[in-house]
């Protein structure tokens, strides 16, 4: 089992707020790691640290045996890391196909335009956006924009895919669709970290779950173990419904 990504004591502070405190974990190749925690727990900040958007103040991030603690997001992309954003960031005035081509052109395979267009069409087929390929990305609805984010990330053919709340704001049939898509991506051999609030989905899909609360890593383990973990239930107590949902998974 090769370790794809390794975090060693990663900490990040924003002024008086300790957003991440000593986060440490290893992610083996081919796994899906679920990242959960109450609002403001530091989940997206952790993505931003892994991705190079906000370099951490302490700790090291090792990706494919290289230290990427202080490198820029484009370096990470070129090394084979791709991500989607919680708040979708489409390139509005470009077509859907062009959006995906950007991912293919500048990701770690560094494709030329002709190949990138082919990859874009394949990936759009995969996420079900083929009929929209020639529309401007700005004209898509939210569910489609989430799929576009995913398509752009996949077109880079990454080793590691960071999915930030791809299920938020989707209705239940859209969620089922997206979950199937995530599982299919794993079958292609891509390692995934996903931040998710839809507990049922994340519990079903993940091999392992990491729970953050106030920037601290309070639990890590299999979905079953996490659902029984007292610290996790306590962290969610401010939101009893979520705690219930967690318990229901047993």
């Amino acid at each position: 089992m090769t370790i794809l990504l390794s975090l060693q004591g990663v900490s990040k502070r924003f002024g008086g707020l300790q957003a991440l405190m000593n986060v440490t974990f290893d992610l083996p190749e081919g796994q899906i790691l679920g990242l959960i925690g109450p609002n403001g727990a530091g989940k997206t900040t952790l993505f931003n640290a892994i991705n190079g958007v906000y370099p951490p103040e302490a700790g090291r991030i090792i990706f494919r045996d290289k230290d990427v603690t202080n490198t820029r997001p484009y370096d990470h992309a070129r090394m084979g890391m791709a991500r989607t954003h919680q708040i979708v960031q489409p390139l509005n005035e470009l077509s859907v196909r062009e959006n995906v081509m950007v991912g293919a052109c500048f990701g770690h395979e560094n494709q030329g335009l002709v190949n990138a267009a082919k990859i874009a069409d394949e990936v759009l087929e995969f996420v079900g956006l083929t009929p929209r390929a020639d529309q401007l990305a700005g004209n898509l609805n939210v569910a489609q924009k989430k799929r576009l984010e995913m398509a752009r990330a996949l077109a880079a053919r990454p080793y590691l895919l960071l999915l930030d709340e791809v299920l938020a704001g989707l209705n239940s049939s859209e969620i089922d669709n997206m979950v199937q898509t995530v599982l299919k991506i794993r079958e292609q051999g891509i390692t995934i970290i996903m931040i998710e609030h839809v507990m049922k989905a994340v519990m079903n899909v993940s091999d392992r779950i990491l729970v953050l609360d106030y920037g601290q890593q309070i639990a890590e383990g299999s979905p079953e173990a996490i659902a029984r973990d007292e610290k996790v239930i306590e962290a969610y107590l401010g939101d009893p419904k979520l705690a219930e949902q967690l318990l229901e998974e047993e």
Binding site: N51, V53, R72, P73, Y74, A77, R78, A82, R83, H85, Q89, P90, L91, N92, E93, L94, E98, M101, V102, G103, C105, F106, G107, H108, G112, L113, A116, R152, A156
Partner: protein
């Protein structure tokens, strides 16, 4: 057929420039040649600015600095070092490119309005510097010795040659613009324009891409500067770095349609046509700059994508031809 399709976006722009180059020949009037030269110069400058403004999304209020700086370097080499017009033009372009590279590395970290303000500062600082730089003649500038024109077959012939070089440079600018637009590098620039943070996350090496876009957008203006001041016979600080000319360039690009190859060309044509009418009209001749200011305001408010952008949105089949 395939080739035709591939370069279909280049056809209209090339035809427009060719028509401008032939127009004085057909009508046979020297006055027409001067108007055509002014338009070709505007086409070259606007197309160059478009690579930064339209593709990369960075508003430069001081793009004329490259025209002035390149012009000064070229004219200096032409008069003091006896370089030929050709090598001086080339040197002017390279000098402006290097200036853009150095400036870009520093000020392209700024975004939005801060970058725009910095570009104004750069233009004014350059003007003040040249004003006090004795090698370039300080406030009086550099005047060409009339005998220089003899090498090019006398003054009349030199003007004629300059006109064709001008047409060539306009063509160069739009071919550059077209190939950048349809390249992978260009796709990266468009991604930066739409969302710089997202582009960076997708792997676009944004500092390099922006700097090279800035360099490319500076080269032809530098060359045009040398040609214009050669034709003019002298170069002075206030002719070389006029802030209002930078703003007029913005109006041209935005009027025609930023981010398209044809847009800045049509914008330059339309703007120069309007300007020609305004400066000769008794009512408007003193307030023609206010008219372009009002025009810029109207474009930004009502057709932010410019004429070509407006057409492309309404008639999708035109997209292939109106690249």
């Amino acid at each position: 057929m395939k080739l035709w399709h591939r370069y279909s976006g280049l056809i209209l722009p090339v035809l427009v420039v060719a028509a401008l180059a032939i127009w004085p020949l057909v009508t046979g009037k020297p006055a027409n040649r001067e108007s055509a030269f002014t338009i070709l110069k505007a086409v070259a400058l606007a197309s160059s600015l478009n690579m930064l403004l339209g593709y990369t999304g960075y508003v430069s209020f001081g793009h004329i600095v490259f025209y002035g700086f390149g012009g000064y370097v070229g004219i200096f080499l032409l008069t003091e070092k006896d370089w030929s017009l050709w090598t001086a033009i080339l040197a002017g372009g390279i000098a402006s490119g290097i200036l853009a590279f150095l400036l870009g590395s520093a000020i392209l970290r700024l975004r939005g309005a801060y970058f725009a303000l910095a570009t104004i500062g750069v233009n004014e600082a350059m003007r003040a510097f040249i004003n006090n730089f004795d090698l370039f003649g300080g406030p009086t500038g550099i005047t060409l010795n009339f005998s220089v024109y003899r090498t090019y077959g006398g003054a009349a012939q030199a003007l004629q040659t300059s006109f064709y070089i001008g047409a060539g440079l306009a063509l160069l600018a739009l071919v550059m613009s077209y190939f950048v637009r349809s390249s992978k590098f260009g796709l990266g620039l468009l991604a930066i324009r739409e969302n710089e943070d997202a582009a960076e996350v997708m792997g676009v090496v944004t500092p390099n891409a922006k700097t090279w876009a800035y360099v490319l957008s500076a080269i032809v203006p530098g060359m045009i500067g040398v040609l214009f001041f050669f034709k003019n016979g002298n170069v002075e600080p206030h002719d070389a770095f006029p802030l209002h000319a930078s703003i007029e360039l913005l109006v041209m690009v935005m009027l025609g349609g930023q981010g398209t190859v044809l847009g800045p060309i049509l914008g330059a044509l339309a703007y120069q046509g309007m300007r020609g009418f305004l400066v000769t009209s008794p009512v408007f001749k003193d307030i023609q700059l206010s008219v372009s200011g009002a025009l810029l305001l109207a474009i930004v408010l009502f057709i932010p994508t410019g004429a070509i952008g407006w057409l492309r949105q309404r008639i999708p089949p035109l997209r292939r031809v109106l690249a």
